[in-house]
Symmetry: C2
Subunit: 121 residues, 2 copies
Amino acid sequence: MVGRVARAATTTDAFNAVAEPRRRQILDVLAAGERSVTDLVAALDLAQPQVSKHLRVLHEVGLVAVREDGRRRLYRLEGRGLKPIHDWVAGFARHWEDRFGALDAVLEELTGETDGNDHEG
Amino acid sequence: MVGRVARAATTTDAFNAVAEPRRRQILDVLAAGERSVTDLVAALDLAQPQVSKHLRVLHEVGLVAVREDGRRRLYRLEGRGLKPIHDWVAGFARHWEDRFGALDAVLEELTGETDGNDHEG
DNA sequence: CAACCATATTCCGATATGGGAATACGTCAA
DNA sequence: TTGACGTATTCCCATATCGGAATATGGTTG
């Protein structure tokens, strides 16, 4: 029962939090502005408890912030938390954008990057 | 019982595939060019079976492509698969980029966002 | 063919995840 | 205070994920 980790905890980082479709939906809704749990429940067609649970995860990972308003809790998007993902993915943009694709091809030709293993010439 | 889904399968989409740190590492390495499984094992300090397993997932999701070279399999990045993630996250960029932040603040002022019901003009 | 190298697959165990249902708060209205 | 509402937490369970070890599969070399 020591270091045995079966799977990275969902609550670990934004990458994991966002891997769950429902949570992405929640963020999509919140992108339009503050929403109460009930609002989200209605918008997502998901049971209230599950919404609260997902919000918990999103909150722990810093993707949303809460504000109390009477007996309601208004959640709002904390977009900054998505930046790590954006930054990481952006690093690969050249790999799917055509204009870069051509350039990459040339660079690989020039640097022999394609392998680093020197296979088959 | 059929519909009982405990958790979205990792093999479902790029979001899930990339939620796993190791798999991100693999993609990072592949970003530099084609690599054999052995190369990856060395680069990642991870056991060969696990690397193969992760590659399987990445392959099924379309994030990597394989090429056979004798008894080796050379994997290469299939960057395009990351585009969905990029696109989704990019939609939130305005939420963390300062220059947009200011604009958003103004818009919220104007639209009475704080009310929580009327939003996004 | 045999020994060997490269990679994939299978079996195992520990874990935690997500939905559903029930329930526990905390707040507001009468 | 009582009761209704809004939200969070807990319990249960089926599932699947990950790493580790062992093994299977397949090509290569001698």
